[in-house]
């Protein structure tokens, strides 16, 4: 459907236009009725009758121009904006950060955040999960081109619900603090932040529908009745080595090959294509640790001293909020040997400030952390994340 603007040159042409309106079969709809010669008349013409109407106007020397190319698109857009703002009212103002949410609620909230901060936040899709759920990333950017970036992810292990919940709170915090908090402002004035809140949507959905303790992806394994690959053993860094399992039934199954999981390859490809990621933090739970590479080998990382000092600072600032004690060190020293981890892969691809955080608690509730601890956990994690991002900003390489 199009809207045509017509100016009747004289009374005769005006009569012609009125006659046009009288022809029911054309279903012409006047937005501005034909009133006086020299005054524009807007008519909406259904698509199937466009040719006939235009021929008629041309044959009678009535000048016209196309006002709106596609009315349907406009209507759709309007509907979309209305729905969005209804969701907006429901979402960013009323979103309950102190409870656990479904994927749909989180995805809707992400869309609403982007709509509320159009100059700062966009929701990108970087791929699809095994079960074809979208893999969404929030991009925080104040513009520029070729900027350095920070990558954050939560929810790579489905059952670690405190991480997705902390992710939502943190994304909200970033958006709200830009222009207010000097550190956030300095970071975003110079760098972009990419935040993947639900890094394993299939697993997450499964923890909500069927098995709260599910960890892995939900990909089918050839020749086995067991499902899923550990997405934090599937990266191409020491892949397949000790600290991962070759048994598809194991919780630490590394998968048939590195990056076999779509959830992993989408992120790896994104980071490699971007080329400018300078810091990466991958959030897990539980055990209250802040760790840097390596997990797959005992050899100290070349930047160990710097990474350790930054970890010490972050852990101190975290403890200052609610008194929560974290330990820190390399993955292999602090928790266990783990091969094929996100953090080792990122580090070996040149992302110097690669960290993994294990959030609350230390075993009292474990994965089933009461919702009342979501906000305190997110609040204390925030200064640690800022320390890492600020350090990356102040130490460009």
């Amino acid at each position: 459907d199009q809207v045509l603007r017509v100016v009747a040159g004289d009374g005769a042409q005006l009569a012609l236009l009125q006659a046009l309106g009288d022809r029911e079969e054309l279903q012409v709809d006047f937005w501005h009725g034909p009133t006086k010669p020299g005054h524009p008349t807007d008519l909406r013409v259904p698509f199937r009758n466009l040719q006939a109407v235009k021929s008629f106007l041309e044959a009678n020397d009535v000048a016209y121009s196309v006002m709106i190319e596609d009315v349907q698109e406009l209507v759709n857009e309007e509907k979309r904006t209305m729905t969005l703002s209804r969701r907006l009212e429901r979402s960013t103002d009323t979103f309950d950060f102190a409870s656990y949410h479904t994927i749909e609620e989180i995805y809707d909230w992400m869309e609403a955040l982007a709509a509320e901060h159009p100059d700062l936040v966009t929701r990108l899709q970087i791929g699809q999960s095994y079960e074809k759920r979208p893999l969404f990333v929030l991009k925080f950017s104040t513009g520029g081109s070729g900027r350095a970036a920070v990558w954050l992810d939560t929810g790579i292990h489905a059952r670690e619900w405190i991480t997705q919940a902390t992710g939502v709170w943190t994304a909200n915090k970033i958006a709200k603090e830009y222009g207010k908090d000097p550190t956030v402002t300095a970071i975003l004035d110079n760098m972009d932040i990419f935040f993947e809140i639900v890094a394993n949507p299939d697993g997450f959905a499964y923890t909500q529908s069927t098995n709260r303790m599910w960890r892995k992806t939900r990909s089918l394994n050839t020749g086995s009745s067991c499902i899923g690959v550990d997405p934090n053993r599937n990266w191409d860094a020491g892949f397949g080595g000790p600290g991962s399992s070759s048994d598809p039934c194991s919780e630490t199954y590394h998968g048939p090959r590195a990056h076999s999981e779509r959830e992993v390859s989408a992120v790896a490809d994104f980071i490699l294509r971007h080329g400018g990621v300078k810091a990466l933090v991958s959030l897990h739970s539980y055990s209250q640790m802040l760790m840097y590479p390596y997990g797959y080998k005992a050899e100290p990382a070349p930047d160990r001293q710097e990474l350790d000092a930054l970890a010490a600072e972050a852990v101190r600032d975290l403890a200052a909020v609610h008194g929560t004690r974290y330990t820190y060190g390399s993955i292999i020293d602090t928790i266990y040997q783990a091969a094929g981890t996100t953090v080792d892969w990122a580090y070996e691809r040149g992302v110097r400030y690669s960290y993994t955080l294990e959030l609350r608690d230390t075993g009292r509730y474990g994965f089933l952390l009461p919702a009342g601890q979501i906000v305190p956990t997110a609040q204390e994690t925030w200064p640690a994340l800022l320390d890492i991002m600020r350090h990356a900003l102040e130490h460009p390489y």
């Binding site: 919780e251 630490t252 020293d333 602090t334 009461p370």
Partner: protein
């Protein structure tokens, strides 16, 4: 060989085992013992025997705000024979706060129930523990300390992940008896392991696990 000092963070599994043993030895429905910090750690290889850890720990009772106690622990993980539970000795400096009052309230409450207690999914998916069920959860956690002790090696760390099901069993004597089906979380393998435990408790006699067995994993894989 000699005792070598370890960075405290490297003794995490041994410290968790010590904590599990303290939970079993001193725990109950009124006490929520937790590891607050490892202040010192050292380890020694003893030829043909195993590896011995010496730990200095700080424990806290979460229900007693800011109340901490120091604890020294010695753990010997036996070489080779993986069926032997590690030897664990611990000593607590000073006194844990008494739980007599809470223990007696809980004891009377359960004794006066008209029907045997039955419950499931503690905590639930959102971490909620229904009113009055926290003592049941703490009791399970104390009992799980025994299971952890009996099944630990240098490369394992067990935590109680969830109570799937608990049923009180009738008894003619003064003990309370609960039959638990729990999920244990083993940290290094990241496995969730169903485990059955029969637990006795009495305010004066503490916690006892009279029966326990690993259960097959429930099959939706």
């Amino acid at each position: 060989s000699r005792m070598e000092a370890l960075p405290p963070s490297a003794a995490g599994r041994a410290a968790a085992l010590a904590t599990a043993c303290v939970r079993y030895g001193r725990g109950g429905p009124g006490r929520a013992l937790s590891l607050r910090a490892v202040t010192a750690a050292s380890a020694q290889d003893i030829g043909n025997v195993g590896r011995k850890y010496h730990l200095k720990l700080v424990l806290e009772d979460i229900l007693e705000k800011d109340h901490t106690v120091n604890c020294t622990a010695e753990i010997l993980y036996h070489l080779g024979n993986t069926n032997a539970a590690p030897d664990v000795h611990f000593e607590i400096e000073g006194e844990l706060k008494s739980t007599d009052k809470h223990d007696n309230i809980f004891y009377k409450r359960i004794k006066s129930l008209k029907e045997e207690l039955v419950a499931q999914d503690i905590p639930d998916s959102h971490g909620n523990v229904p009113l009055g069920m926290e003592p049941i959860r703490l009791l399970a956690q104390a009992a799980a300390g025994y299971v952890a002790w009996q099944n630990s090696t240098e490369n394992t760390r067990y935590e109680l992940a969830q109570i799937k099901h608990v049923r009180q069993a009738k008894r003619s004597d003064d003990y309370l008896e609960f039959d638990y089906m729990v999920l244990l979380h083993e940290f290094v393998s990241q496995e969730i392991i169903p485990w059955q435990m029969t637990v006795l408790w009495h305010p004066l006699h503490g916690v006892k696990v009279t029966q326990n067995s690993r259960q097959p994993k429930h099959e939706e894989h």
